[in-house]
């Protein structure tokens, strides 16, 4: 077991650093659901999955909270996103090379409330973390901020 894992690890080591960064998290996970209260759904393609703490998130996932729901996410660059009740948050883009601390991310708050804290992507390249609303794009230079979108 140990030897087999060692073999896999050595193979990763020889791959380019971007591949290492992707393999540093399971499969194609870009982050993890860390807090879930009330009703929270993750829409992935045509399916709607009930959210649970520890759930791995993929690019394109849409997190939807019910009127009693809240959800908190930690992304692979150590940025934090959390949504209040009645929110829809789409994880549109996430590219991150953990060896170089470089990448870009884009999340869209379609409605509701969002608390966001930037991570290594914004630290590596100010402005490379972006949050979109129906009428604006926020380019983040490293900070914690709040966004509301009313319908």
């Amino acid at each position: 077991m140990r030897l087999a894992s060692l073999g896999v690890g050595l193979a990763l080591l020889l791959a380019p650093s971007v591949a290492q960064a992707q393999d540093a998290v399971p499969a194609d996970a870009i982050g993890w659901m860390k807090t879930v209260q009330g009703s929270v759904t993750v829409r992935r393609g045509a399916t709607a999955l009930p959210a649970s703490v520890g759930m791995a998130l993929a690019r394109g996932d849409i997190i939807a909270t019910g009127h009693d729901g809240t959800a908190g996410v930690t992304l692979a660059d150590n940025s934090l996103l959390s949504a209040g009740p009645g929110s829809e948050l789409a994880l549109d883009e996430f590219i991150y090379d953990s060896a170089q601390l470089q990448g870009s991310s884009l999340a869209t708050l379609r409605k509701g409330t969002l608390s966001a804290t930037s991570g290594d992507i914004a630290r590596g390249t100010p402005g490379a973390m972006r949050v979109r609303t129906p009428t604006a794009v926020l380019a983040v230079r490293g900070t914690t901020f709040l966004v509301r979108v009313e319908e």
């Binding site: 807090t35 009428t135 709040l146």
Partner: protein, 200 residues
């Protein structure tokens, strides 16, 4: 349907729309980080760019109007964003532990620091741990690639032996290619013999 029921429904409708404060539909508010520092964001929209920083902490914008600066009372921040703020995950923490030359044994100082790592993981309701091993530049590249991985795996195994879930601990190695202190080849710099641990 009774009149009082209609009134309740109307009130609920208003509450759901949230249209009961002085801010417009889209509202952006900067917050100080855990050290009190305020960063900045650039709000880009059809009406141009507006920079928010410590001198101008918030802006709002309606679907047709320009983005404009606004002052948001702390009590309104709590009212509008309290639930989202309460849902924030615990911030990730990063640790660096050092090793004895050419071994997967921690230095004495890092054995003590390991307890802080373990305590931080245990305090989280749910954890994801990433361990990345590194070596100094003494010795061949291939040898160091293997050694860095052995260090990461030894750390992972120690955490598993202490009762943590191995499925949530990822260990990888980067050999000597990513030194903390850049050196010439074949230099045994102690600060490069390390694992970097991210706890989320």
């Amino acid at each position: 349907m009774s009149r009082s029921l209609l009134r309740v429904l109307a009130l609920v409708g208003l509450a759901l729309l949230g249209a009961c404060d002085k801010y417009r539909q889209e509202l952006f508010v900067l917050q100080p980080d855990s050290t009190g520092k305020v960063g900045s964001i650039v709000v880009q929209s059809a009406s141009g760019e507006l920079v928010l920083d410590e001198t101008r902490m918030a802006a709002h914008r309606n679907p047709r109007g320009a983005t404009e600066a606004v002052t948001v009372e702390p009590s309104d921040v709590e009212k509008i964003f309290g639930a989202a703020l309460a849902a924030r995950p615990r911030p990730p923490r990063q640790f660096r532990l050092y090793f004895v030359f050419d071994s997967e044994l921690l230095t004495a100082a890092s054995r003590a620091e390991f307890e802080a790592v373990f305590a931080d993981i245990r305090e989280r309701g749910h954890y994801d741990v990433e361990v990345v091993g590194h070596t100094d530049r003494q010795g061949a590249d291939d040898y160091n690639a293997r050694l860095s991985l052995q260090r990461a795996w030894a750390m992972r195994q120690t955490l598993i032996d202490r009762g943590l879930d191995g499925d949530r601990i990822i260990a990888t190695g980067r050999g000597e290619v990513d030194p903390l202190m850049p050196t010439a080849d074949n230099i045994d710099e102690p600060r490069n013999r390390r694992v970097e641990i991210t706890v989320r």
